[in-house]
Symmetry: D2
Subunit: 370 residues, 4 copies
């Protein structure tokens, strides 16, 4: 699929380190971004600039990474000093010569700041849903209110859906990356090799039964993230109306009656599994299915394929940036079950964002992610 | 569906206590049977007889319920004495005047002992898969070897599938109850109201994505039941070939291409959720779907229906004998997602077995189960 | 210890059912009270009156037990009707002829309502810390502000610490029961047989390392009850200053330098274990220690003693009202480790409250608790 | 304490990569060793040699790291090839020019192989208990049977207890490293700064209440590592007789009546917390205690100190090689509670082993461990 990562990074040896900032470091994805970037070989010369997000009080913002995320103490490449977290401020970004801005911020915030950043010549990798969908779908689902709708629409059209396995070439030169949703990534990577090959019986419909760990629900304490609610439990939610459905439809070129996706809340901290059911149009062998996946992901170091009938498990991918895929084909040669696993905070958020940065900067795609 | 529990137990006030025995009390289902029967109002006069299972050494069998299951100490209705567990022995059963035998034993054992018990006039409630399926299916799936194949076939034909919500009348007088599988119960109760009404588009196929707690995997320590394997994990298994599929096909009158069922291992001790996807033939309203369920389960005290779009969760049913059902219908009036939850050791095993005993003996169906 | 439960309930056969109300049913302890009372044999004639707590909006209060606690649906002894939860109101209590009021309310609320209830002739079982300590200690620890300090002081002096194993006789006739803290119960029951016998070397000091499941932290979603904080974690808190320490000092007649107690938050829903370290004054045998415990808890059906060196585990007691005790004595005959386990919501809260009601009403002490 | 890591590695820039082998890669510690070494900057030129352990069948041994530990697929620094696991064989070690041998093997195996390895000029880092204690204690606790007792005794005397924070200088030149136990490490690092300073009132006794995740119990499926036993539970074990006690006594120069240590099994995969209670001889300020720790751990990058009264939690250290320490001093200036946390598979096993290798080879002490 497209240029492989290997060829793209042949000349990457003497790359200059980019100056990067992270807005919204207090959340889970922000914390993972901090962890990855603090240890990223490309950041050896200068640590990232860590920023709060609007809505946090000044006192919240004036803290350190180590105070927000105690497990990160002592891991810096820049000596033992702790890393300040400052309030978000355009002068601060300009003064630091920031070239790439990661936004782990609510979508309203991303929608407000990204145009400004791009106007200032800063490339943006946005982890929210603000720029992932077509203008219309996005507006319907996320109820966006832009200061300059025309500019927003233009940027929306320009934004690249940050799934390197699908859009590697466009990512290289993109100014605005819409980092995919966690559920979406797990399902799109499982289905794209088949839907793009046109082998799926879409009349029959695709069923995606997806399960996510609690970190996917965010850091805010709510009745749903209470330990007593989540532990020893399983619950389905947002049946027929989860926001990530829009990404499936657009990236896989499906209509809403061709796919159903039900998310569930798992009693584990992190990890997503999607179990996907579909019917192949033609009678097919398992070897043929395996080949479709292998060809599609040649040159994609962050997708691991399991030989059928072995299936990936959430444990295999937790705290990695891999998406693991496996499948079982029924004896009839038609009915197929695919299992896709990833870590929702890494390949489903912060890890994929760093992978996008790697592609944008010409680093090895897996740099700092193994 | 059939006679209601209420009318059947109108005259149950002065029922005689049956003399019951439990074979195989060392496992999880056996432990739950012991717990339920030790506190069952119908067992006030005489505690059940607790027996090991063949294959256990004599020393294993000569123990107490409290030694096997420390949490059961001190709950007896018959004073503070501990309850002996004895080795299985026909003379012992005869000497105790046993009328009903619960078998929480491996299916080979059940297949061997049930004919003998019935020949001795003892009614059997078997929790294994030994008698659940048609002779041919059973033989193919469970690889049975009977001493007297003709007798076994006769009993097989006579055995009643112990799902009171479907076969209440037959259970009343049955000599041999095949207590349903845990996964099967969750899916059959979710689907029977619809398949029996003929409203499901079977050409489209039914997808059942089911998830179970670890107790469903049994008490034997294996690499799959190791805490390090199960915790913080989710894994799919037995894709397209789980034994319980046979029960779905027979009880719902489906062919194997009309339904697919994938079990997953959840990182929780107990509980099953099945998320079920199907298409209704005709455009339907949620109210109509709700009515189908309500009518079907009128008089069934152990099924609780959630008003759409509320969905049951595993926490709601753990340590109860309820099966909770809920559903969401898509806006198109065709696509339906049903969520079914139960406790695999109770409604999925020991609780349902006691429910069957209640029906057989004329107790209130929910007696000792709330 | 005092009169045994057995003799006390000899004449309990024809007891009249008391009319009871529960204030504060929305929390975890309130939910457990509802569950226990809905199935209590003494409540067969009339279900308890369920009330919200002040501070809840009217709309919160006008709900049902089943809406607050979905797992309780369908368990009523009074038919299938759901149970209304009403806002707290003195006329409502009077109109229902309430004789006993359980208060699962914050201590400020309990401090305000208990005097009024007692003035109206209603006996109170209060689950908060409002009345557990001496006037001075209570005031220092809970920062109480009473409308009528003199009356409050009088009631404080009259209040009985609701640990039936220690104060059974006083509980029978008490107007105001201060139901003990969960941690306190686990440690007091482990230590009282030894401190009362005067065998502990108090100069050496007693160390209590206690661990509790997350339900002990309450239902309010906070950063500490977030699944991501509690899961896969263990944290110590309130070192040298947990409120329950006061109960230890008063009930065991110790000074604050003679005992240290450190609570920890366990990644489990419920259950407490206290591991207790002390030195015996005299060289002692394990049999002698066992005898001290056995004599002390003769006639106490809710304490289970493990034969040394077997130790209780949290699993043994979860969802029971038992306190399980075990110990190991060092070879030197002096150093002793005691392990005490209970369910913080049952023997540590709602179960003990019902046990107190049983004693107050002349029911069997374990009635409705097995 | 001793030479600091910083000065020792000043000239470490152009270090030659050592050739290393790992025996016993199938277990949890072995898997972590493989993960750390596959990504270690010092192993860029040549991957480690992975070996099974005796007692594994030939077929077990002839596998790959990725088959044993699926989460490790794709992380190699040496391209995408999988890494073979071969059976243990001296010719194979010689042929590969192995200089350092990690042994994640049972202590009997370590006791047999280490002398041979050293005779062949291979330095050994042994993760078992085989060489940790004085000859006599070791023999009493581990019931060792040596082929050549005199040689074994000589090596025993020479073996260095592999705690770099205590024995950094000796580790640099050691031929045989006895990598410390997981519990021991957590307690020794918490206590050494105080016992070596002579400030602890040893007559009063030290109480160590320690809790470990299930990986500490090993990979073999047993009734104790079954998910149903460990989950939602807490259990104490080996009271007064855990093997690691010997390490405490020797490293801290204590007698057995001066310290008691009780281990507990936590329902989490990994992590240890030790809560430690002691009395200081002299009235002391918290600042003074903090200074003792700070001075002791100057130059030790893998120990992180929390400012009092903040305490470390298990989550802070899981999947890191840090030991985190915190304390609270009572108002009396005497009674002290210390909390020590580490990851039992990293700082408690594989991570500390790599840390030892770093010291032995002149790498930065934290190389490959952040």
């Amino acid at each position: 699929m497209e240029t492989t990562a290997a060829s793209a990074t042949a000349k990457a040896e003497n790359l200059r380190s980019p100056r990067v900032a992270v807005a919204g470091v207090s959340g889970y994805a922000g914390g993972e971004l901090a962890r990855l970037l603090l240890r990223h070989p490309g950041m050896k010369d200068a640590a990232p600039l860590f920023l709060g997000r609007a809505g946090e009080s000044a006192s919240d913002a004036a803290t350190t990474i180590e105070a927000l995320h105690p497990h990160l103490a002592g891991i810096s490449q820049q000596g033992n000093a702790s890393h300040a977290v400052r309030s978000f401020n355009w002068d601060r970004l300009a003064g630091s010569g920031i070239e790439i801005l990661f936004m782990a911020t609510p979508h309203e915030q991303s929608r407000e700041w990204a145009p400004e950043a791009i106007a200032r010549g800063i490339r943006v990798i946005d982890l929210s849903g603000a720029w992932r969908l077509d203008e219309d779908a996005n507006r319907a689902i996320y109820k966006l209110h832009d200061a300059d709708p025309a500019l927003a629409a233009k940027l929306q059209a320009e934004a690249v859906y940050g799934c390197p396995e699908l859009h590697r070439d466009a990512i290289r030169t993109a100014r605005l990356i819409a980092n995919p949703g966690c559920y979406s990534t797990s399902m799109i990577l499982a289905l794209a090799p088949l839907t793009r090959a046109g082998v799926v019986d879409l009349d029959r419909g695709i069923v995606c039964d997806a399960k996510s760990g609690v970190s996917g629900a965010g850091k805010a304490p709510t009745s749903k993230t209470h330990f007593m609610y989540a532990a020893d439990n399983l619950s389905a939610y947002a049946v027929f109306n989860h926001r990530h459905t829009g990404e499936l439809l657009e990236q896989l070129h499906l209509t809403s009656d061709q796919i159903v996706f039900t998310p569930h809340l798992l009693p584990i901290p992190r990890g997503i599994m999607a179990t996907i059911y579909l019917k192949l149009k033609q009678k097919t062998t398992a070897a043929q299915v395996g080949e479709l996946f292998a060809n599609f992901y040649k040159g994609s170091p962050m997708v691991r394929l399991h030989p059928t009938p072995e299936l990936p498990q959430i444990q295999h991918v937790v705290r990695t940036n891999f998406c693991d895929l496996g499948f079982v084909l029924a004896e009839d040669g038609h009915r197929l079950v695919i299992v896709s696993c990833l870590d929702n905070l890494l390949k489903g958020a912060a890890g994929q964002a760093v992978q996008n940065m790697n592609v944008m900067c010409g680093f090895k795609e897996e740099e700092g992610l193994l």
